[in-house]
Amino acid sequence: MNEKKMKDIFMDGPIPAGFIADSIQKHSTKTNIGAHSIFLGQVRADELLDRKVAAIDYTTYKEMALEKMHEIRESIFAKYELTCMHVHHSLGTINAGEVCLFVFTSSKHRKTAMDACEEVVELIKVELPVWGKEIFEDDSYTWKTNK
């Protein structure tokens, strides 16, 4: 495993819209790109047992998550003709309405970018050791489970 190639996908706190804009803007010099596909996960104010989710507190097993993400990246680049791929996941407390996951794939053609993006999102949900604790408005909590 080449440590230099392992990108840190985690950031503390929510992913700002300006961060996403900067990321999009940076691709304007890559004129072989024809299509970008972006997925954003946003914390939902779900109602459970008459209580409303106010935030999700994310934790991870970082060393393992980064290795896993590196594997996912390699498998996606082996399968799809992507120009580039970026993944960012929040850690810590993310309030309802804030963005906690940002997946960004770019390719020459739209189908490739969209299929790759969808697959990355699914793999992240299933394979990354990340845990979300849903915190209700009254400070009680429950552990999130992915479907």
Binding site: T59, Y61, M64, L128, P129, V130, W131, K133, W143, N146
Partner: protein, 71 residues
């Protein structure tokens, strides 16, 4: 190393154990934390998830991973 809801039961970040394999780790943990026995979790040895009982060597890092819920 316990994570998520498992960490709530074991009440600690990481701790040392003497064990020859992952089955021994589980037995030792169930004695200390009986509530753990009913919980669903996966075991990772040195950052790789293992399904069957796995031999450990000195310095092996064993992690208890409850169901993932990232994204």
């Amino acid at each position: 190393m316990p994570f998520g809801q498992i960490a709530e039961i074991t009440g600690a970040d990481a701790f040392q154990l003497e064990a020859a394999d992952t089955d021994q780790v589980q037995q030792a943990l169930y004695k200390r934390f009986p509530a753990l026995e009913k919980r669903a979790y996966a075991i990772a040895v040195n950052k790789v998830i293992v399904k069957d009982n796995t031999m450990l060597s000195s310095g092996s890092v064993v992690a208890l991973l409850p169901p993932f819920s990232g994204g």
